[in-house]
């Protein structure tokens, strides 16, 4: 097989893996939009905050230590213990549930029946608040995140493809882990929404708020639930992206990678987020490989948004989104 074909195959496989990582971020947006019609601008910052909290708990970091030291003249930074990754993840999930409850109690409860643009603006405010709060709580230095996920080239794939084609493909073990986690996450979300009482209540709220209220479903509870689930998804995305780059404030920018995925897959579809992520991942990587060298490279963001724009023109609701029909 010619080298260029093999290289293209390798790029395509890596594009699929990258697409899974994009989809992980997009899923959080979809969950909240589907249940409440809110486009959550803070989803990227939630990924950052959850990852910061996870590392902080794992490393035994004293929250708000800079503030405490500045006020009381102390010099404390660490409790002196290390928490196992699994325990730290469970504690972080608890923090994200508390965060969801506070968001509902302090912000969105007071904005029921307001225009969607107001809800969106509220999430912008929330994003800035949370970013500053995370900085104050855990500090702004770049932190290494190691929850035990393998990283680096997968030897088996390298060897197998080398024996088959004479060229070993590079697939990152972390990307394989992300794919497995994403499969379980999506399966879990589908099982949750189809087969549990809370899941069915969530779908009912998503379909018709008024009807859901009339049969006794608590809107408050459902919104806390959906923000909690979105917080959990943000944590998963934060772990995967944080393992690649360290946990740092740029992590909030991963939301930019989710937007074209949402435009492509639709804002209300979980399968849409996955398929959209895969299309964007493969498309941008192949475009960069085939066309990039002719135009100076760095085409990935451009390609993702242009592809999303094309989809918007021909299918505004995205591949899997619900078509909105409003009759006069």
């Amino acid at each position: 097989m010619p080298d260029q074909v093999l290289f293209a195959m390798e790029v395509m496989l890596n594009g699929l893996m990258a697409g899974v990582l994009y989809a992980l971020v997009a899923l959080g947006f979809v969950l909240i939009y589907k249940a409440s019609g809110i486009f959550n601008y803070a989803q990227g910052v939630m990924a950052l905050f959850s990852a910061l909290t996870l590392v902080g708990i794992m490393e035994g970091q004293v929250p708000f230590s800079h503030l405490i030291n500045a006020i009381f003249g102390t010099d404390i930074h660490h409790f002196g213990w290390h928490v196992p990754a699994l325990v730290a993840i469970i504690l972080t999930i608890a923090v994200m549930i508390l965060f969801a409850w506070l968001v509902q109690k302090v912000i969105f409860r007071h904005l029921v029946n307001q225009e969607p643009i107001l809800l969106f603006m509220a999430t912008i405010g929330l994003a800035y608040f949370l970013e500053g709060f995370g900085d104050l709580m855990w500090g702004s230095e770049i932190k290494r995140l190691d929850v035990g996920l393998p990283q680096g080239i997968n030897e088996w794939i390298d060897l197998t493809t080398f024996e088959a084609f004479g060229y070993g493909f590079f697939i990152d073990n972390l990307d394989i882990s992300a794919t497995i986690v994403a499969i379980f996450l999506v399966a879990g979300l589908i099982v949750f929404s189809q087969y549990t009482k809370q899941g069915r209540a969530l779908r009912a709220v998503a379909d018709d708020h008024q009807a859901a209220l009339s049969v006794g479903i608590s809107l408050n509870f459902i919104w806390v639930l959906v923000w909690s689930v979105a917080g959990f998804v943000a944590l998963v995305a934060g772990i995967m992206w944080g393992a690649k780059s360290g946990v740092q404030f740029s992590l909030s920018l991963i939301a930019l990678k989710a937007l074209p995925v949402l435009m492509l897959g639709g804002f209300t579809s979980i399968p849409g987020a996955i398929v959209g992520g895969l299309i964007i991942g493969v498309g941008e990587k192949l475009f960069e490989f085939l066309i990039g060298p002719m135009v100076g490279g760095a085409t990935e963001n451009w390609f993702a948004y242009v592809l999303a724009l094309v989809f918007l023109v021909f299918r505004p609701q995205g591949l899997f989104g619900e078509k909105i029909i409003e009759r006069v």
Binding site: F7, E141, I142, K143, G152, S245, Q248, S250, F289, G296
Partner: protein, 425 residues
Amino acid sequence: MKLTTLTIAAVMAAGPVMADLVFPSLSYRTGPYAANGIPFADGYEDYFTLLNERDGGIGGVPIRVLECETGYNTEKGVECYESTKGEGALVYQPLSTGITYQLIPKATADGIPVHSMGYGRTSAKNGAVFSNIFNYPANYWDGASHAVTHILNENGGDISGTKIALVYHNSAYGKEPIRTLEELSAKHGYEFLPIAVDHPGQEQKSQWLQIRQQRPDYVLMWGWGVMNQVAIQEAANIRFPMDKFIGIWWSGSENDVLPAGAGADGYKALTFHNLGKDFPLYDDMQKYVVDAGKAAGAGDQLGTALYNRGMYAAMLAAEAAKKAQEISGVADITPAQMRDGMEALEITEELMTEIGLPNFGPTFSVSCENHGGNGLGAVAQWDAGAGKWSLITDYYQSDQDIISPLVAEDSAAFAAESGITPSCS
């Protein structure tokens, strides 16, 4: 009497307070680049605090550091400049190429010097055109040449047929070394492969697959922020030999290598100053600043690459201020006198030893024709086990046969478009 009092009060209110030597610090302690901005700002401020506490300022005049948060945002940086210049600011360190470009015409018109140390517009080296802009001791084009010199040294002086890739941030900053590396490629016969990375650089799979497929012998990097950490991790993932991977000085802090853990071991970065805190000055810094509770930050950044750079920038500013006091004969200098001091600056090893920083930085001198110093730079290597950077080379002289014509060409273009008549009279 009442009228006299009112007049004095009006003069005091209208004019800048001249009782201090004012050094603004355009810092970024918030936002995506805060992890890099904080140690630099701490080092910059701590050095001036040390001078105040130990020496009573510079030439007997206390120093006042005016910190202004830019968030690494060009618009905010310009706002900071506008809001602080009236305070009698002596010199600006914009700490951003974008802000530097905006300040070049403004600061020149206001008569305030700008020191863009290791960033900004490279051709500002030509002081005949850029009267108020200084970029000593080294610039990006020097850096590109240092990297190639290092590769030449590793290969017995012959790199013809070698392939050198440049992974660069797809911005004006990242593209800075391309022309120089092309010229050096023509001179030394290596194949040059530029590879752009989209901002912010969180996803670089395509670029590193390209490197894996193209198999360059060396990879150079002009990155910033998250791009650095991801690139080093991806290089480790594809098992690119780390001792063949060389970053510019903005890709060479502890922040860049620590997230990759052991995978970053052996990674190299260019630098124009020494690393660590094994210098006599740090004893004073500990005693007068950190232990006295006067450190700008938590006092835990001493000796890190970016803290040292901030401290070095402050030291060079302080020495220029001393030179200005010496030339003008007054202690309470103006920005114009500070500019003259910067243009007459001479850093010798004797001076560095006297300051408490022996072998910390290159020796160089500044003149009207040369605002960029002598173009010396070295290579540092990361030891992941010990968790520290170490200088592994002497200071290299950049290839001025290549760089000087490029500086002349670019500065002449700027002079023509800005209507400046180059002059060193």
